[in-house]
Symmetry: C2
Subunit: 732 residues, 2 copies
DNA sequence: TTGTAGGCGTCGCGCCGACAA
DNA sequence: TTGTCGGCGCGACGCCTACAA
């Protein structure tokens, strides 16, 4: 036949009309599209101001995964160039002039939710304004979190399912969980036999995808048939990737992908046209799995601030670009084949430019890829402050959240601090990844040897009943409480049951976070003017130490020096910090003592990056301490009603909330687990962005809860147990 | 069945084993691979010195097309930043400090033959060393063309075929011309029935492709069956693209693609994953054709040195990159999604950097895409010199070579110079595209309104027998000689039959090409030292003009001003230049008079970019003129034996060569065309890189001749008629 | 000699229910 | 409820000859 071959359509938006005539068994399935705003991706074609606000923030968060949260516009954050550099392919060489602090306090000017055109990987462009002295000292202090600028979005309905092998491979069908079909998908007319309809969904680029949705089989089940295979192929999905269906407030159905953390986040392999000579055939969906371990998520140990070479996605770039021009002496000529096959999220140059602008106090932009296996480098200032409010020393026990390999849940891993050491001597004053840790499950978390204080949550080291961790596929090694104690004891060489020393809240990092000092860089002459207003007399520049985490002289009580004694690489100068007002820092004492005060509950310090930091500031007595270069008066009477009691480490408050959460949990009648708060906490958290229906009787194990998307429920359920991830959602 | 789905191979080099068992009818075809060096593309994986020498130069040239020639290492070239800028997506803004010359004389340090990893588009990375005063003035003068550094490669055998619709579309087979099968492909064993074998060919990346080659059908014909369809799909070939088979001297079979000039060279469309929202299905092979006209090849008119927006591939960039970050204030952050979807060959920044380094006299690199529809911007110095040896004025008739749409042949188009004006006021002294032209076929060459002198070849304007041009698909409008004359007359307002004025060889461009002046930039103080050695007294800096092509005062004879009189935009200051030694410039007189001296032959000035430039320097009397800042003594006795007689515009010499070529052409016995040299010239040229066998009886119409690949034959046949393309091959 | 059209065999995609976890 | 498997129908890829330019 002459003319173009049949079955070819011109690209007019909707995919795959193939075999449409064979779709409907009867009545010929209706087409349903949500009535919301029609976002066409025809904007921002020019070169100039490419400020397109990107995709739906809800969809963005659904694709980013349950652990990712972005600061809202107006929030105060700490920008860590070190962390920024971890997203670069080649480690940038920071000039010395940036100073040893590595922390720049900023205000979030704008946040754009974007998605990679090729891989659908979501990323955010965050515009930051370094805080000047005036604003830093103004009374719009740390509590200014952006306030109502980002109101909680209308409750959308989303659903994420990790693709099975059958979904990604077999026969081209997708098994739709009933909950998804009944709550996310458009209503199906069950009167026709078989019930069938056409579902249209928009992806992150605003493109519509067409799926045949049928309810058939014995027993009946929901399936996506026609259209699904094309989607899988085009998006290059593999088993283990997750697909997100989301129904916006306007009723529009969206679809996104959240690739598995395995491999390099699905980027290297999904770039099938990427120049390597190894495979010119389209790579099979089953070839893409890398060998990286589960531990990719937090980037791991960067010996000197570099990207780890132990499986992190950073140190690639060579293979796969055999013809890459790299401008041996002329960087500019390297543009022609810079197709960015090596999935460096950002370039070293951009990191340097951002950091340079930051230290100069000029507004700058950063691009953050939440699924790039590196930690967030724009951390809410309150979280950093809260984490640095108290001291960290070797031997501390903590837990830390990780996304499971299929990104469907979040698991908590236990570990111990082995040393407190700056990650990079360049920034020897930066708290970034200052904690060197050892894990109870070292094999699963290989490569993750350094974390930042705000990423972890301290737990008691006292004997208590700990439930076994549940891991997605590999049964986790159950750590017995006694064994844990022995472990900690052996590691630290210090009996943890011995009452730990009392450390003060004040430490060098606190004023190390002062943006003014960072801006001043090496110009010590400016300290007087900059710090004079806020710092108490004893912290005037004359007392400031430029050394390696050396506290001001005379501020180390003798017993404080014992804190890190005998630890693995523990430096007493690092782990012990002066007590400003010993008597008034009761909360710090509590957190140091862990569960010793109230053995019934697991003690924790809310140090999640996005937690509000109001956790352990509740004190019985008012005191003044200094953080971020300004005096903060903590008064127990200054309670925030909407957050009251959250994550409080005080016994009575915690007790109250525990009871409250227990009463609210009656919607899971079959839940017989009442052992302790920790177990409950873990159970709820592990349900994040997984699927399941709230009305099911299985208990909370698969409770659907996407942090950003389902605020009310999460707020109720999670605030009581730990105050982790969701606790400060409202504060944003 | 459990396990991975069947039919999946791991990428181990050779493609498509599918249905191999159904291949051989009997005997099961043998596999043939050439025994040459095995170039694996596993090198250059690192970041540092990416100096990979790329692919086979012969294959590179075969893919680049018949009109592309690169200077060899050691050659002296003129680098035109203006021309370089035409390969950039966005026009670079050159700083004023670069000066108005826009010409930098350089020596070719290295040439790397490369191919785009994604599109297979060939490109070259040329490393250039600007010539300093010392070397520029040294006696290793313009004749230093690199000499034996790039010896003519051993005669390879190549074949190019433009894909028919059947080749690209129907049934997945490729109809192999008999000549290709018998001379390029490995020998086929005809004793088995049907004769069948497996042919392996390496592409530009060194990857092997496997084809089933069968000889069957009635009448018998050669076909590629199994493997061909995959190749077409992977390479995204469409009808009109050309495939190149090449057998290297070592016996290795290579395959390359040479995409049609239509569209954007197959780049935009072949980038099927490129983010636009218009088509998410794999684009059909028949959708990729653009609407650009045939005239893309030379880029067209750049009003102010910018990329033309009239269909050239330069002014794209918007659509298809809806999510592109372009660093509104922070260029460094724009790296993440710079997947270069818009097929900008080079960036404006790289052009600027190259130009900056060039004017600073530092070595630099340029990347040249021969199929990017722009003119070569590194032109052999001799060609430029030869072109500027004589004057250009409105009304001159010329012809210019273009590649046909399917890139199989080269057609010559006739035109007239309408004005001589600098293309860009920034470089008002640059000869780049200084000729504003009108075409006898304006509809076919829309957009090509400016050309450079070395791109065209002057022809006589006297009445003579001109053969009709042959165009591939659209019958060209036949221009009758009388009509041409009238056309020219009407356009210029000047009867061209009137003996033109006699112009001298000296003109401002000549010393405008002096590298010293360019290097000095605006620093006029250095002129004395730099130019004192070579320039005659009257060209000392005090006489140098900074104006708009204004010749030194007193150098315009009255009659010279009449040259451009009444022309369309013709400026007498531009078109008329002083005569230095009127009596001694006989050759210039001849070229100006065209065929008037010897009406039997078409007169021409060898101004092809790669022609040697020795054409019209032959003079009966010795004289000294200045070009490139050095005195050149032209003496007719100083003949170069290996080039002697080529492209001479003297009557006797031309006559001699015409006879010589006639005798050598006896290998085409049926050729009855003996009308004139022009027709013969065109016929031979039009056979460039097309297919056909030399032994066939059809005459020279489809004479196979690939310039770089078949030197001997082409040298014989073409030097006599015009000395165009092949004439100086040996000089390289 | 080779471009095009049509025949037709074969392969595999993808829709399906069965079965089991 | 849903993951996986085997069945199988249909569409299309692609190999082939016939015919014509």
């Amino acid at each position: 036949m002459p003319g173009p071959s049949p079955g070819i359509m011109s690209g007019t938006g909707i995919k795959m009309e193939k075999s449409e005539e064979s779709m409907g068994g009867g009545g010929g399935g209706k087409v349903w599209v949500g009535g919301g705003r029609d976002r066409d991706s025809s904007s921002d074609g020019g070169v100039g101001s490419g400020e397109n606000s990107g995709l739906d923030p809800q969809l963005w968060h659904a694709c980013a995964g349950g652990m990712v949260q972005l600061p809202p516009v107006g929030a105060k954050v700490i920008y860590f160039p070190q962390g920024h550099a971890e997203q670069a392919a080649t480690p940038p060489e920071f000039p010395r002039m940036m100073g040893p602090q590595g922390t720049i306090a900023c205000k979030v000017v704008s946040v754009s939710f974007l998605a990679d055109t090729e891989t659908d990987e979501v990323y955010a462009r965050i515009r930051l304004q370094p805080l000047e002295r005036a604003s830093a000292l103004a009374n719009s202090d740390l509590d200014a979190d952006g306030g109502p600028s980002s109101p909680p979005p209308e409750k959308p309905v989303s659903f994420a399912k990790t693709l099975t092998q059958s979904d990604a491979n077999n026969g081209g069908g997708f098994s739709v969980p009933r909950y998804c079909a009944e709550t996310i998908f458009p209503p199906l007319d069950y009167s026709i036999d078989p019930p069938v309809q056409t579902v249209l969904a928009k992806d992150v680029h605003g493109e519509r995808w067409k799926f045949r949705h049928i309810y058939r089989g014995t027993p009946r089940r929901h399936l996506l048939t026609t259209g699904w295979s094309t989607f899988v192929n085009q998006k290059k999905l593999v088993a283990g990737d997750a697909i997100v269906f989301l129904r916006t407030a306007s009723g529009e159905l969206c679809v996104g992908v959240r690739r598995s953390m395995r491999g390099t986040g699905g980027s290297d392999s999904s770039n099938w046209s990427g120049g390597s000579s190894t495979s010119h055939h389209r790579p099979n969906r089953w070839e893409v799995k890398g060998t990286e371990s589960f531990s990719d998520f937090l980037g791991g140990d960067n010996g000197a601030g570099m990207i780890s070479s132990s499986g992190s996605s950073g140190s690639r770039g060579g293979p796969g670009s055999s013809n890459t021009i790299l401008g041996i002496g002329i960087p500019g000529t390297s543009t022609t084949s810079s197709f960015a096959r090596n999935r460096a999220r950002v370039t070293a140059q951009s990191v340097l430019e951002a950091a340079s602008l930051a230290v100069q106090g000029q507004p700058f932009e950063v691009v953050y890829y939440p699924r790039a296996s590196t930690a967030e480098f724009c951390v809410k200032a309150q979280a950093v402050k809260a984490a640095l409010d108290h001291s960290w020393y070797p031997g501390m026990r903590f837990k830390m959240a990780f996304e499971t390999e299929d990104s469907s849940r979040i698991s908590w891993f236990m570990g111990s601090i082995s040393a407190v050491q700056p990650a990079d001597p360049i920034w020897h004053k930066s708290p970034w990844r200052v904690l060197q840790v050892t894990w109870d499950e070292p094999d699963l978390l290989q490569g993750v040897s350094r974390v930042s204080p705000w990423q972890v949550e301290l737990v008691s080291t006292l004997p208590m009943q700990l439930p076994p961790f549940t891991l997605p596929k590999k049964k986790m090694r159950t750590t017995q409480p006694s064994e844990m104690n022995l472990h900690g004891q052996g590691l630290m060489g210090m009996p943890l049951t011995t009452p730990p020393n009392v450390y003060g809240q004040m430490n060098p990092w606190a004023h190390g976070l002062n943006v003014e000092e960072v801006s001043a860089g090496m110009q010590g002459a400016r300290h007087d003017r900059l710090l004079g207003l806020a710092l108490p007399e004893k912290f005037r520049p004359g007392k400031l130490q430029s050394g390696f985490f050396t506290a001001p002289e005379g501020y180390y009580p003798d017993h404080a020096r014992r804190g890190g004694g005998g630890g693995v690489g523990g430096d007493p100068h690092l782990s012990a910090f002066p007590l400003q007002d010993r008597a008034s820092n009761f909360s710090s004492l509590i957190s140091s003592l862990g569960g010793a005060v109230n053995p019934r509950s697991v003690e924790h310090v809310s140090t999640n990056p996005w937690s509000g930091g109001t956790a352990n500031n509740k004190q019985n007595s008012s005191t003044t301490f200094v953080l971020f270069g300004q005096a903060i008066n903590t008064d127990s009477n200054k309670s925030q009603p909407q957050h009251s009691g959250r994550s409080s480490s005080e016994g009575p408050s915690l007790q109250h909330l525990t009871e409250e959460s227990s009463t609210k949990r009656k919607e899971s009648p079959s839940d017989s687990c009442q052992s302790n708060n920790f177990e409950r906490n873990q159970k709820y958290i592990s349900g994040i962005s997984s699927y399941g229906r709230p009305s099911e009787g299985k208990g909370a194990e698969f409770q659907k809860w996407v942090p950003w998307l389902d605020m009310e429920r999460s707020g109720e359920k999670l605030s009581a147990s730990s105050g982790i991830l969701p606790s400060q959602r409202g504060a944003w």
